[in-house]
Amino acid sequence: MAGKTGDLGRIRELSDIERKAILGIGDSEKSFEEIASEAALSIDSVRRACAWLAEKGFAKISETRSEKLFLTAAGKTALEKGMPENIFLEVLTKLGGKAGFKDLMEESKLDVQEFNAALGINKKKAFITIVNGVIEETGVAKSQETFEEQNLLESISEGKKVEALELFKRGLVEKKEFIERKISITNSGKAAREILSTQKVSREFDVEAPVPELFLGKKAPYVQFLNQIRQKLVALGFKEMNAPLIVPEFYNFDVLFQPQNHPARAWTDTYHLKQPRFGVLPSAEKVKAVKAAHENGGVSASTGWRYNWNEEIAKRLMPAAHGTAHSARQLVEGVEMPRKYFAIARCFRPDVLDATHLIEFNQLEGFIVGDDLNFGHLLGMLEEFAVEIAGAKKVKFIPDYYPFTEPSVQLSAKHPEMGWVEFAGAGMFRPEMLKNLGIKGEAIAWGIGIDRLAMFKLGTRDIRDLFSENLGYLRKAKAVML
């Protein structure tokens, strides 16, 4: 629209600042500073406005380039303390007109580069000779000649124009380029000025022009993702369990039938607390039941692991290493029949933070208890997860191992874009656990490492972005939609 209304249209598009600037240019060439004081605008605003006016053909910016010499840091030192070659000669004279390299360098306090330059220059001018590693004055040096460079440095520091190629090469002097810009009004600028100063022209916006960005207030992308996962689970009929960060080993390992000398309980595979060290176990009855499961299978038809189970080890506190710790607590506290449970659990393992490992991460974890659940139901549940949560088109079930489930299975899901992904681990809770805790029926348990799916939904290949420390990244992040 704007372009079609001709000159008046283009004039209408001018912003307030551009209008002030165009009136400030006047008829002769002006600098930005002059226009700024004329139009009572900041220098930055004038620069921007004039650039736009030039772009639109209302003004013209001419540039004059010029070069100027400046002393470098080394040049300033030389001006203050004297040129290295002069110092070199002075010290040599002080040392009796004869000296070794090392002595002269130490005494003159020149660095290697300066010393080498001074040596070269003095030798070239035949002020010195070098015989068998000894530097000797020749007597050729005259004081006037040696001050030539010193005088040049002084002139440059005073801003005088001189030829100083040699000093430039030696890094004592540098060149800087200056661009001087002057603004003049064009004919269409004059016409615009005429209209603007005689009529009231309201502003019209270029609808296609870029505008300044606003930073929206928003939730962290990973929180958006986790909230939607939570909604999904609730919609599938699951009840959320508590997932505290700190648990006794009892829930992380013992209830889950992991023998106390199992390699997975090694010091290096999980964190332990320095303080507080020990937590509280549930009722003596439940502790006895877990002890029996380990030692002889208890009331289940199992032999158990046949060793002496130690209550003190079970009391040790740790940050939960897997979400199943919370399912374990729910089993101990008691379950409703039938019921579906889930938790979004923060888990901690001693990994080093990198693009594929977090020092703490989230697991989606849960189980279903009921009277007549079997392995076919377990696979049915996993298939539902793969479709509902990951949007998978195909699934594959692979035999797996967990200390607390038998049978155990891994779910691989084929995502339309990610390809085959190990999506979940699952199984039927072992009878040693259920029978001894007095739970009738069967429980099918599952755990999903949701962080990989989160990375995909957030469009990142670096897992650290889930906990991004970069405000710019968060400000630009798009809404997450499951």
Binding site: L245, I246, W267, P276, W305, H377, E406, S408, V409
Partner: protein
């Protein structure tokens, strides 16, 4: 989870069948293995079974797979000859490392694959099944340089010395423990005992000091070795016999012939009354109701099918009108309950042949009560234009304590990977200030918040740790002040319908304008962060913030 080096050709030779890439992946699923990486013929295979040492070698994988693909069935039988080697066990080891089990393997063909697999199996058994050599340590020797009978006896430090493997001079046990590489790693297993366990032959030549090191004289198996002597020591006969049998099976699968040794125990409290001939290759039995199969699997299978599926998992099977009785190798220490057998049946059947079933359960889902509050708090913050950030719970005393001029105790990790992550945060505020410090080059004003868990030592709380979910808001620009942050507090609390009270109070990390806030009885703080705290984080702009527990 043991990772195994497997040569594909060697594996195929032992199975008796060639596999393409997919076929190999599929048969490895039978043994819960995944290919981790492929380098030409060399595979790295992750074995997820942490309780089945019989699988942790190419021989073991091939043995199981031969049955799963129908080439063999039932328990594999091993013929054991008699070697006439006697082993005498001294009762002075009863409290140190009491048991030993031994065997002789003759006619082994030592080649490259053999040595790799033998050493690998020995190491995996000792580390994982043997709990880092504590429960089982294996010694392998060139039998032809030993003169039977063999003695397993304890010696005091000043009674014995020998040249350990990879060493040139004789050493005393205490010297081996303090100086030898293996001694430093495993020495703690015998340190402080009255005597050191020693295996020696009739000529008093030391073969090894279990569970630490072999002697240089007998302990090297080379390509010239034809006959092997194997011993396993530990604390339980069942464990060490399993380890011995697993080694013997693997060696026999490569053509070695197994000969037993006669273990003669002295009189002792825990020692058997008569001698034992090892390896015994005992079997175990477990029985269960037929109905259990359908109950657990949901599959209707006839007796013949059940028998076939279990035989393919190397069980010998008997089925009568009501019961299934299976017999299996005693090396299957993972079988504790009938469900372990049923999993094997399902694996033979094939997980992907089972039709998934829908769970019909009329239950209502729900989220934790407090989630609504947390999420409304987020909504309020988003509404006033704040960006949510997430910081880790794991952090450092420097950020939480020193930089905030707070001298307090924190919930602390005993074995942190790095001191930067040595404690769990008590407050969100230091983490958000730290976040601002990392974003000084981003445009200001910066207005952020976090809703996150915080931990505090508290004797009255369960497990001595109080966990709350806090809300923290931080505003930063060149001129942000108390009024700005108080406006945020008031608007947020109004929206959440929370009563809020402010009382002037000093905080070591705040300037003059600060206060304690009490939101629904829970204490928090609000104000302008002081200059010396900001300097600790290298921040030049002003920061005003608030924090209080939501629950």
């Amino acid at each position: 989870m043991p990772t195994l080096d497997v040569s594909k050709k060697d594996f195929e030779k032992l199975v008796g069948k060639k596999f393409d890439e997919q076929g190999l992946e599929e048969v490895l699923e039978y043994v819960k293995c995944e290919i981790d990486s492929v380098d030409g013929n060399n595979l790295k295979v992750d074995c997820k079974e942490t309780n089945r040492p019989d699988l942790w070698s190419t021989e073991g994988l091939a043995r199981e797979i031969r049955a799963r693909i129908g080439k063999e069935k039932g328990i594999r039988k091993y013929v054991v000859g008699e070697s006439s080697v006697n082993v005498f066990v001294d009762s002075n080891l009863e409290k140190v490392r009491p048991f030993i089990a031994c065997a002789v393997l003759k006619g082994v063909k030592v080649d490259g694959d053999f040595v790799v697999q033998m050493v690998q199996l020995q190491e995996k058994i000792c580390e994982t099944f043997g709990r880092k050599r504590k429960e089982a340590a294996i010694g392998l020797y060139d039998f032809d340089v030993m003169k039977p009978p063999v003695y397993y006896k304890g010696f005091k430090d000043n009674e014995i010395e020998f040249v350990p493997l990879e060493w040139k001079v004789p050493m005393r046990p205490s010297e081996i423990i303090s100086q030898h590489e293996k001694g430093k790693i495993y020495g703690w297993l015998v340190q402080g005992s009255a005597v050191y366990p020693i295996v020696m032959d009739a000529n008093k030549m030391v073969a090894s000091m279990p569970p630490i090191i072999n002697s240089n004289a007998t302990g090297k198996v080379t390509e010239k070795t034809k006959n092997l002597f194997v011993e396993v020591t530990g604390f339980s006969l069942e464990t060490i016999e399993t380890a011995l049998e697993v080694m013997c099976m693997a060696l026999a699968d490569r053509g070695g012939k197994i000969y037993s040794c006669k273990i003669n125990y002295s009189k002792g409290k825990i020692y058997p009354k008569t001698f034992l001939k090892t390896p015994r290759f005992l079997t175990k039995k477990i029985s269960f109701e037929k109905a259990l199969v359908e109950k657990k699997t949901g599959l209707k299978l006839n007796d013949a099918k059940v028998k076939e599926l279990l035989e393919r998992a190397r069980y010998n099977v008997k089925i009568d009108a009501k019961k299934i009785v299976v017999e299996y190798s005693s090396c299957r220490t993972d079988i504790l309950h009938p469900v372990d057998v049923i999993e094997d049946l399902l694996i033979s059947y094939g997980f992907n042949k089972i039709v998934p079933r829908q769970i019909k359960m009329s239950v209502i889902g729900s989220q934790l009560k407090e989630i609504s509050l947390f999420d409304s708090a987020r909504d309020a913050c988003v509404g006033i234009g704040l960006q949510e950030v997430l910081t880790y719970n794991l952090t450092s005393k420097e950020i939480q304590g020193k930089n905030f001029h707070i001298d307090e105790q924190f919930v602390e990790i005993a074995n942190p990977v790095s001191l930067n992550y040595g404690i769990l945060r008590k407050r969100l505020a230091p983490q958000l200030v730290n976040f601002l410090a990392k974003n000084k080059s981003e445009l200001y004003p910066q207005r952020i918040f976090e809703v996150g868990t915080c931990l505090e030592l508290d004797k009255d709380a369960p497990n001595g740790v109080k966990q709350t979910t806090n809300l923290c808001v931080a505003l930063s620009s060149s001129k942000v002040n108390f009024t700005d942050i108080k406006s945020a507090l008031v608007s947020i609390c109004n929206y959440l319908n929370l009563k809020v009270e402010l009382r002037r109070k000093e905080f070591p990390f705040m300037g003059e304008n600060c206060a304690e806030i009490i939101v629904n009885g829970k204490k928090g703080f609000i104000g302008e962060i002081n200059k010396k705290t900001l300097e600790n984080f290298g921040i030049k702009n002003q920061v005003a913030l608030l924090e209080f527990p939501l629950n």
